[in-house]
């Protein structure tokens, strides 16, 4: 297990594609890992303290990582525990393993996630599990659990997997969704625009678009795309 602690407040955001892979390396190697501090490429050891405890394939990010982006991007296995908040693009394109964020997560959590698990104990930002700019498909597998609230545009173009939000979500949930499940225990805004398939379950209030048909399965649509998506209450 590798424990990484920020040494200071970062003047601009840091980009660090930290994955549990680092836990297989020595402290010295980890300290040399290249990260981006604005327009400078620096060694991880310059900005963070590094400690190794045992051989478990686990990364503990101890402190405020809200200004550190791309944590867990493309990870395939192992575990990352963030003991604070985390910056944008956390868990982007991840295929396996688990990320636990004890604080909040910024925008673009779990971009096009294809496997594994993300748990956020606080709130998440916008664009959770969505397709990145210009891509056709969002999240395809895996699970994202947000214990607090989430922002707008959750699960756009989702084609599999599961997003569970214990609190409220923002507007435009599951737009152009094709498959998978989104569960919202609180309330949210518009749901399921141009939804083709999949299921959205909501406990609280939400705004239904005019293009869904009431059936015994729930609300089915979006008729504009001859969709078979289902929206129902939890």
């Amino acid at each position: 297990m590798i424990v990484i602690k920020p040494k200071k407040y970062f003047e601009v955001c840091v980009e660090a594609e930290l994955t549990p892979e680092l836990a297989t390396k020595s402290v010295e190697e980890v300290k040399k890992f290249k990260i981006y501090y604005g327009n400078r490429v620096v060694e991880l050891g310059e900005l963070f303290e590094v400690e190794k405890i045992g051989e478990e394939k686990k990364l503990v990010l101890d402190g405020d990582f809200s200004r550190v982006k791309w944590i867990g991007a493309r990870m395939v296995d192992g575990e990352i525990l963030v003991k604070g908040s985390v910056g944008a693009n956390c868990g982007a394109f991840m295929k396996g393993g688990r990320i636990i964020v004890e604080g909040n997560a910024d925008d673009w959590l779990g971009i096009e996630m294809a496997g594994g698990e993300i748990i956020v104990k606080g709130n998440a930002g916008n664009l959770v599990g969505c397709a990145y700019y210009g891509d056709a498909v969002g999240m395809t597998a895996g699970k994202i659990l947000i214990e607090g609230n989430a922002g707008n545009y959750i699960g756009e173009k989702m084609n599999g997997g599961e997003i569970v939000i214990k609190g409220n979500a923002g507007d435009f949930v599951g737009t152009e969704m094709r498959a998978g499940v989104i569960e919202i225990h609180g309330s949210c805004g518009f749901v399921g625009g141009d939804m083709r398939g999949g299921e959205i379950r909501i406990k609280g209030s939400f705004e239904l678009l005019p293009t869904f048909k009431k059936t015994e399965k729930g609300w089915v649509g979006d008729v504009n795309v001859k969709g078979e998506g289902v929206i129902k209450s939890l």
């Binding site: 141009d194 705004e207 678009l209 005019p210």
Partner: protein
């Protein structure tokens, strides 16, 4: 008396190019109130300044270069009111600096660009619209206040090849309030703020034969009225939706436009329809086109890794400032201190700011380095793209001692290259 003909206006995105400028009286004819104000004399930044003290251009540029070259992530913002030649240098400067390039569209029509990424842009030039469009819908757009001559030259009462006059054209306004433009319309559809997306979805359903699923009212509009609008759309030989900030700056933003583009795609199966944004600044299109060919993206471009990356969620100026993710800023031909939300301005106050602009504005008040520049279209020549992408050459009609943005940026780039090695 010397009169310059075919003067090109450098105020709004309509970029009218039929002005007449009297060089002696320094007065422009034919232009609207906005264009006339553009060409009238007004207070200028007198000289380059560093920390409020007047200095030479060279000194100010040297100081600016130092600040930028030392920054970890400089933000280079503005660009919608300058010429392409300057913008190109700005993009290259951002690349050399490993900074962020963003432009005014990000608080204006950039959600439209996000929609283009999703669905494309089935559009037309303004000349096609004036010649052919027998139905014109202004959606969340109020040209009577923002583009005063648009209606006359291109849309409402423009005389065209197939549509000869106002009588042959149906004009519709969809808005949340009865704007000045709404008063000129044949049909005004007032919708509840934040319900553009739902209304567009409903129109798509009606046009594709699914009206039966709709409730009796959508977004504050009775179903009958929506059917009336849909029928009007289906009756057009050539229709145009011209959308404004009413959709890009409100709930749904890019998703509203994406939905409208899907509506246009659908309509084209039976009629001809086009959609186009009512772009604001005279060269906001150039501020996106130039970086697109130089770096692949229109705005919100980060060069910190030595190559361009696009992410409005992270690299748009407002997000960069809100996240305190820049440590210096170069502001060219823009006034973010006046036009950004307070929380973004707050960070701008905390970092060194360099401003290049002809006129003093709120950003001048917080800038460390201020570099005055010539006004394109009056004191400087260059290229700009009208709201529909039509390129026009801006004229120099008056002499000036002010440097052009192009010259300032060229010098700045040279010095930055030297400092960066």
């Amino acid at each position: 008396m010397q009169v310059v003909q075919d003067v090109v206006c450098t105020f709004c995105g309509s970029v009218c190019d039929d002005g007449e400028f009297d060089v002696e009286k320094k007065k422009v004819k034919k232009f609207c109130r906005l264009g006339s104000s553009k060409f009238s004399e007004k207070e200028r930044i007198k000289a380059p300044m560093v920390d409020g003290k007047e200095v030479s251009y060279e000194t100010a540029i040297e100081k600016a270069a130092e600040i930028l070259a030392n920054a970890k992530r400089p933000l280079l913002y503005g660009w919608a009111s300058t010429a392409n030649e300057a913008i190109r240098l700005g993009v290259i400067l951002a690349e050399k600096l490993g900074g962020v390039y963003d432009q005014c569209a990000s608080v204006c029509h950039a959600p439209g660009t996000l929609a283009v990424i999703e669905e494309g842009l089935p559009g037309a030039t303004l000349g096609s619209i004036k010649n052919r469009a027998d139905v014109v819908i202004f959606w969340g757009a109020n040209p009577a206040e923002a583009h005063p001559r648009h209606g006359l030259r291109y849309s409402i009462s423009a005389k065209g090849l197939l549509v000869k006059d106002r009588k042959q054209r149906k004009v519709v306004v969809v808005d949340v309030r009865p704007t000045k433009t709404a008063k000129m319309a044949d049909l005004f559809v007032q919708i509840k703020p934040g319900y553009d997306y739902a209304v567009i979805s409903a129109l798509r359903a009606i046009i594709s034969g699914n009206a039966d699923v709709l409730p009796s009212e959508v977004g504050g509009v009775p179903k009958e009225k929506l059917i009336e609008l849909a029928e009007l759309m289906k009756s057009a030989r050539y229709g145009a939706i011209l959308y404004g900030l009413g959709v890009t700056q409100s709930r749904g933003r890019d998703r509203n436009i994406e939905n409208a583009i899907k509506l246009i795609q659908l309509l084209n199966r039976t009629n001809r329809w086009v959609i186009w944004p009512m772009r604001g600044h005279y060269n906001v299109v150039g501020a996106g086109e130039v970086p697109a060919w130089e770096a692949g993206y229109q705005y919100a471009i980060d060069f910190s890794r030595g190559y361009p990356r696009f992410s409005p969620a992270e690299f748009s100026a407002v997000e960069v400032l809100k996240r305190k993710d820049c440590d210096a800023a170069l502001i060219v031909a823009s006034d973010p201190a006046a036009h950004f939300p307070a929380v973004a301005v707050k960070h701008l106050k905390q970092i060194p700011v360099i401003q290049i602009d002809p006129f003093p504005n709120m950003t001048t008040l917080l800038a460390k380095v201020v570099i005055p520049s010539a006004v394109y279209g009056i004191e400087a020549e260059g290229t700009a793209y009208r709201m529909d992408g039509i390129p026009l050459r801006l004229k120099k009609i008056l002499e000036t001692n002010y440097w052009t943005d192009e010259k300032i940026l060229e010098e700045l780039l040279k010095r930055v290259e030297k400092l960066k090695g």
